[in-house]
Each structure stands twice: as structure tokens, then as C-alpha cells.
Amino acid sequence: MRVQGKGLIDRSRPIGFRFDGHRYEGFVGDTLASALLANDVKLVGRSFKYHRPRGIYSAGSEEPNALVTVGRGAGAEPNIRATVQELYSGLEARAQNAWPSVGFDLMAINDLAAPFLGAGFYYKTFMWPKAFWEKLYEPVIRHAAGLGALSGQANPDKYDRGFLFCDLLIIGAGPTGLMAALAAGRAGVDVILADEDCRMGGRLLAETKEIDGKPGFVWVDEVLAELDSLPNVRRMVRTTVTGAYDSGMFGALERVMHHTAQRDGGAPLETFWRIATKGAVLAAGALERSIAFRNNDRPGVMQAGAVRAYLNRWGVSPGKTMTVFANNDGAHQTARDLLDAGVHVAAVIDSRPDAPDIEGVQMIKGGLVKAASGGKQLEAISVIHNGTTEQIATDCLAVSGGWNPTVHLTCHLNGRPQWSEDIASFVPKMGAVPGMIAAGSCNGEMSTAQCLADGVKAVECALGITVKVDVPAAEDDPYRMRPLWAVPGKGRAWLDFQNDVSVKDITQAATENFSSVEHMKRYTTQGMATDQGKNSNMQALALLADATGRGIPETGTTTFRPPYSPVALAALGAGAQGKGFAPERKTTSHVFSEKMGAPMIAVGLWYRPSYFPKAGEKTWRESCDREVGYIRHSVGICDVSTLGKIDIQGPDAAALLDFVYTNMFSTLKVGRVRYGLMLREDGFVMDDGTTARLSDTHFVMTTTTAAAGDVMRHLEFVTQCLRPDWDVRFTSVTEQWAQFAVAGPESRALLNGILDAPIDAESVPFMACGPVSIGGVKGRLFRISFSGEHAYEIAVPSRFGESLFETLVARADAMEGGAYGMEALNVARVEKGFITHSEISGRVTAFDLGMERMLSAKKDCIGKTLSWRAGLTDPDRERMMGFKAVGAAKMLTAGAHLYPEDQDAHRVHDQGHITSVAWSPDLERYVALGMVRGGSARLGERLRMVDGVRGIETHVEVVDPVQFDPEGGRVRG
């Protein structure tokens, strides 16, 4: 219910919203949680395993219970904590994990079966019969247990990512963080102040204590006004610093648009920031812990601090008849604030017999709350005091078991927190994250005055400077607390509300010897839910310590890992969805190729035409066969711009090429091209390609499309790391030049139709290169062939690519030729036994490819020494050969394995495999390349070919890799 005269909400601006189909009203400044409590909605969900009723428990991001689905349709978002969801007009939220409804949940039957579903029940109960696990038990359990579900549709929301840089990152904008920001801001350093809340101030917005003689929120507003006037301070609200990483990097999630109904505007829903900072102040505060007792998970049982927050910040009392159960002085303030606001407080139960009095309230000192009762919400508590049990009617019990410093980020680089006996909790270890100083209550400072002072100190420590800032006067009460983790007694007392872990589960884990804290966690699932046990881990490990007879520091904590609170994968992966994950590289002929109806296939990031269908052609093979005909019988045009092109210049350019290629390039004449083979240092083939010598000191290297980046990096490695003394420079020019293959018997005739100066066999013989002019455009011509035909590659600056391609295709068309795609290109090269990365698989040597003679004896080169190792020159190695079908089936398939004709198709008999297959329209049969043991020694031998995947089997004959025009006469034209 709303409490008049309280809260920082704007009562002049009401907002309508829906929860589970019912219409309610809240105010600007409300969260979904505060608005629900204001409307007396107590039951907001069901628990994960037992489907027990769940109510709002906290007022912050640590909320274990109030997980709801916000929105509808494809963009609906599950598992939103109602405590951090700001209210906006038209907000629609639904309860989760309940069927048919949160009020009447059939799955609550699980709770009755609880004796069978305790810790480790998965491992004990559903073991036999084995097949039942996958088919029966698991699907049933998965249906019954769970959180909210995604829509199953593509996410329509926009997410973004970004980098930020600063001198000092301050994490948390409570008293400590604000004071730190003020000190650092005035000192003139670049500051980022990040807070997960929509409004900065932290606990100062939730408490009635004054600072500098003013209400806390007034002081906050003054500080924020000053910070906003400083150009060196960037304030980030709704921004959770989720993780601490190496070298001063922090991850932060900004919820940019969650507080609005807008989902299709320009701004992203969320942005994931990577923040690089020189120093950091962790001012993350503390989280209030609970005390376990029977049925302590009933809606209406809440954190005492959260009750103060709802009252003081949102003007809401979560109940009409309030009670408080605590082991510390601080929680007494809850009763005082409620009384001041005119809310009835039935009793304050303090477990300490020597607890102080509170004026105007029934104090039960040395009392314990034994149990909560009520169905879907709290109705009464039973209190044990001096041996007698008393029932007290109440609809909201505020519980406090003390406070735990929020040490999470200090542990992200493997640091372990240290036990502090003073506050019976873990505190950060100094220096656990280099450059980050923990300050304020996350460092164990429990009064506001201590926090304010510590904020200034932390800045001085982080920046190594002295700052002059007056620390205002504030509450400095001592932190008086006596640990109490659980009230002994019968029945289930709950620790982890989200995963339904009870005190008994912990003791059972200890009994069954899951006594290491990490084992206990996994056996019971304590702390493994989306809240990561922020409310309950401390109690659980204290109880484990007790059950195992160890101390808490010896028991230790589980490992804190990023993120601090859940981060959507969409935010982490922002920019990498769809094309962001695999950007498209398009050639200059792309548009024209698509216009011709060519299906484009991905080659790395590039897109290349597969074939160019003509009217009447029903299969790709028909088109491909026709295109191979262009190459073999007239003239074909193919865009080969995707091959890597590296421009190499300098007096030592030839020396570099000699060193990275197995064969000699220093002897290459100007105006000539040579094929080269490149090895890795371990002696295996890395890549191949042609290199042209344009002048004494100027070469253009081509690489395969796939290995262009690797080769570039390799050349950088060789020149910078192995031979920095060489005077040579190179750069990638792949995108600068559009290059087209003109292949076939009519290729020269076609070119002479467009070249400004005609060529002939003498001026441009096989493997020649040189400058040409096409309609005044300066280009380059290479007489090289990947098809075994009389062929050229012509290159022009990319801006002329589109027009040249169209011209070449039009001319070829007129000569009964035309464009050809990857399929035809592949057929021509398989017919000729030319290799691609199907053959250069990373496991083959020059020897395996029959290219051992390309290893020049006159010089050293990368990979040469190790390529001569005994194991790599064994004649019995699998070496490349050609294959043709000789069995009844004429089909050959790449990937099929080879076996002796009289042996089973078993791995022990394996003789090799087929790497590439093509249908040769000229030979009218399949041609294949492959690797076979013994290589050329097997020439003429027949083998079994078995494709176990496609179920194809035939017999093949080992033939020369060059199956078309073995004499090679055609290429010289």
C-alpha cells in the first residue's frame, strides 16, 4: 500500500501498466516491484523446482524471486527482475514458471513430492533404466522446472557495443562512489561513474539518515549537479559494471531503453561497454543477508533494508501489519521508519538478548522466528521466546541477518576474499584486481560517515594524489551484529529461493561428503541460479562450515565469476549478428553476376558466382558443362579478383621471394610469371600461387583466396622477425585490382578486340606479363592459366572492374563463349590436376604433391630443412594421383576412401582418399584427384572406392593427375 508523504516518486504523474493481464496504476519513479507492492500484489511467481509461491524479496538487482517476462511477441524478454524494471506507461509483465496461472499452479504438486527431490535427486532417483533418462525423466523434469522462456522468434531488438576510456572508473554511486567522484572530478581527471540503478545515490535514497544536515537524497542531488557541471566526469546510470578483466579493462552493461516502451527507435535496447581505465574505485556497497527459518520463502518475508527502500524511496509499505526479525541494530531502523510513517509494527524480534529497545514497539529480545505460515502469502509468524511459542499475525516480515560486502568484482582475476571476524563476512583482498581499490561498505565500512571518508581515501590511493574535499557529517553508528544463519527446528528452512535449496540440503551434502564448498554448490545447486546466490551463499557456507566442523575461513567461498548480474548474449554479441558475424566481400562483377542469375557462393568472406544459368537449363550441371565448353572450345570469362594480391617492392624483394617460396624467383626475368609453392617451417605446404616480376625490384604475388591473410602475415613475420635487415616493403592490393581470367582458344582474339595495342604469341608468350592499355585505362596482362588452356588474366584498377567484366562477357558471348563460375573453373583444374586447398589440406608436403623438384637445392627457404625429414619423404606416404572409375558405378565422390580390391572397407586397410571430383564433359566421365599410399608407384592399379556417408561404392584406377591434355600443348596455344 502507498504511504502518504513518503517516497521520491512523482505522484502527479500516474502510469498505467499490466501484470498477468490485470490493469494497475503506479507513478513515475516506480519500479515494477514497488508498483506491484503499492497495489498489494504479493504473489509474483513460482520457484524453479517446487513451484512454491514467490513474492518480492529485495529492492535491487540481487532479487531472487520476482522474475517476470516483460513485453509480448518476438521481443518479449523473460527473467527480468521486477525490482530493477522501471515502470513505464503501457508496460506489460507476466509471471513465469506457473501453469495454468501463478495463483493456481498445478506444478506445485512438486512441493508435495519434495522428500524425493532433495539435493542430488537427479543423480540418485532417475538412474535406471538408462534409456529413460533421455526419453522420459529429463523432458519431464525440464518441463516442470524452469524460468521464463524466449519467444523462439528472431530477436527484433537492437543491441550495441562500444569502448570507453578514462583515468578512473568508479563503480557504484552510493555515498562512497559519489564522494569518490566528487574528489576525483574536482582533481580534474577523466572519471566515469557507473551505477546499475536508474537514479544515483544508492542506499542514500532508501534511508532517512541525514548528510550535512540535509536529507540524503538532497545531498545526492547537489553532488550530482556539481558532477554534471564538470566536463571531465561522465555519469552512466542503468549501467552495471559486470566484470573486471586484465590490464584495467572492465565490462559494463548499459540498459539503454528498458525503461521505455520504445523498441524500434534509433537507440539500442542495451549497450555492452568495454571500459579501459588507469584506475578504479569499487564502491559496490553491501547486500543484506537473511536468516533461514521454516517457510521463510513465503511472499511477505523480505529484506529489512528493502522494506526501508520501498517505504523511503517509493512511498510503499509492503504490508499493513509489519514485523521485523534481526540480529543487528541497523535493522531496527526499519521499525522506526515504519512507525514514523504511521505504519503498524506488531513486533520486533531480535535474536540478541541484549538488543537495544525501540520506543513504541513490542521488542522480543533473544527471540527467534521459528516459522512463517500462510498459503500464497504470509499471514503469521511463530516466535519462540524464553521457551514459549507465540503466534503473531503479520503480512510482512522484514528480516536482516547482517550485511555482506559486495566483493564480487575483486574476485574476477582469481582473488579470494578474506574473512573478517569483525563483521562476520568476507571482505576484499587488497590488490586482488591491480589498480582497483575497494572502498566503503564493499570494503567492510558499515557507517555512512565511514563510507564518505573512504571514498575520498580510495581516490587518493588509486590516483596517488592528495585531494582536498570536505567530508560532510553523517551517521556514524557502530555496526552491532551477532551472526545467526538459521533458526534450528523442524521443516524446510530456505536459503536459495530461486533454486529451492534448504538448510537440510546443505547438511545432507555434508553428510554425503560433498563437503568442499564447490562440491556442495554443485550437489545442491546452491547459488547456481540467475541471482548467483547473492542473498544466500554466505549462510550456506556458514552452515556447511558448521556441519563439517570447520571454520568459515577454512571452508572458503565458491568462485565469483563475471558477470555480476545477468547479461543478454545479444548484448555481448552485439554487432556480430548476421552479417556482422560474417561481413560480405563482393567483387566488382557481383551486381552483373547476380543480374545474370548466378547463384553466389561464399568463399571465405567473398562471394563468387557458382555458375550462370541459361534459359532451358534444369540443373547446375547443364550450366557447368556448357561453361567448361567455353574454356575448352571458345572463350570463357571468370572473375579471379578474390585471389590475394601482394605488391612487393625493394632491392631485396627477390631475396624475400626466394626465401618464402621453395623455388627460385631471383632468376625470374622481368616481364615473366612463375608458379611458386610456399611451405610452413615444419615442411608442409602452406599455399601456392603465381608471382609476376614487373621490374627488377617490383613483384606482384598472388595467393589463394583462402590463405591471403595468412600469407600476408607470414611475409610480415619473415621480414620483421627473421630478416629485418632486408630492404623490402609490401602491401596487399587485393581490393585495388579487379582481375579476370580470359580462358580458351579464342582468348587472344577476344583480347585483341579490346586492347589498345594487339598482342601475339611472340609479344606475350606463355607465362609472360606486362602493362597493357584498354581504352586508355592502364592495366596489367598475365598469360597464366588455371585451366590448361591458352589463357590470360587481365587486371585493371577496381573502379574499372565492372565495366571491363561486362565488356569481356559481351565479347565472349559474341564468340559463342561467355562467363563461367566456380563450378566450371573447378572442372577445368581437376581435369588438369591443379591443386587447391582441397589437396593442400595442411597435411601434405611438396613430395606428396609430386612437386619435390620444386625445392631448389641452391638456396634455403622456409620449410626446406624439415621437409626432408625421413617421415616426410617415405615413398609409402599418401601422395597425390588422379583417379577414374572402372567399376559398374561411374560416380566418384570427394571424401570417399580407397581400399585394396580384395579387402574390407576398414580403416586398417585404408589406402587414401579422394580429394576433388568433377564431371569432365570432354572426357565424358568423372575425373578425380586424391591421395593414395605410394603415389605414382600405384599407377594403373585398381582400388575399391567406398563413400560410407553417401553409400556409394565403385572401383577406380589410379591414373596420372593430369587427365586432360597430358602433353600440355593447349596452354601454349
Binding site: D246, A276, D860, T865
Partner: protein, 86 residues
């Protein structure tokens, strides 16, 4: 993690390509023998502590760097250009 490129300044590690131990700088002579080559190509020490590594600022200036990095803490104490290290 961030790496201080001597040419470009402090950059996110996503801009860098990692090759491995800086031993790769010390290429043996062709006739150094099988053992020396085996050491160079295959054998690496893997101490839990300081390593001397080769990284390339591939998405930046392209420089190969020798980075002294502690693999237990990711602390980087020294970065030099590989061409100055040989």
C-alpha cells in the same frame, strides 16, 4: 587485456594476432641438425609465469612484437618491436 604497441600505443588485445613463443625469432641454420630444428619448430617450455611471446598488431600497424607476459596474471612488463629484438 591490452597491449602497448610501441608504434600505436595501448590497444585492445582483439587487434592482435598471437603466434607463440618468441623462440620463433631464433631460426637455426639449415645445417644445424635435427635436434636444433626440432627445438625450433616443436619444443616449447611452458612455465607458469613469464613468457616471451610473439604477437602481431594485425588490425593496426602490422608490427610484430615481442611481448613479455605473465601467463598466470596476464601482466605485461615489456613490449618491443620484433625487428629490434633480432
Amino acid at each position: 587485456m591490452r597491449i602497448q604497441c610501441p608504434i600505436c600505443g595501448s590497444r585492445d588485445r582483439r587487434e592482435f594476432y598471437y603466434k607463440g613463443d618468441a623462440l620463433a625469432l631464433k631460426r637455426p641454420a639449415p645445417d644445424a641438425g635435427a635436434e636444433a630444428w626440432d627445438d625450433y619448430v616443436y619444443l616449447r617450455d611452458n612455465p607458469a609465469g613469464w613468457h616471451s611471446e610473439l604477437w602481431q598488431h594485425e588490425a593496426g600497424c602490422g608490427a610484430w612484437l615481442v611481448v613479455e607476459r605473465n601467463i598466470t596474471s596476464h601482466e605485461i612488463r615489456k613490449v618491443t618491436l620484433a625487428e629490434d629484438a633480432t
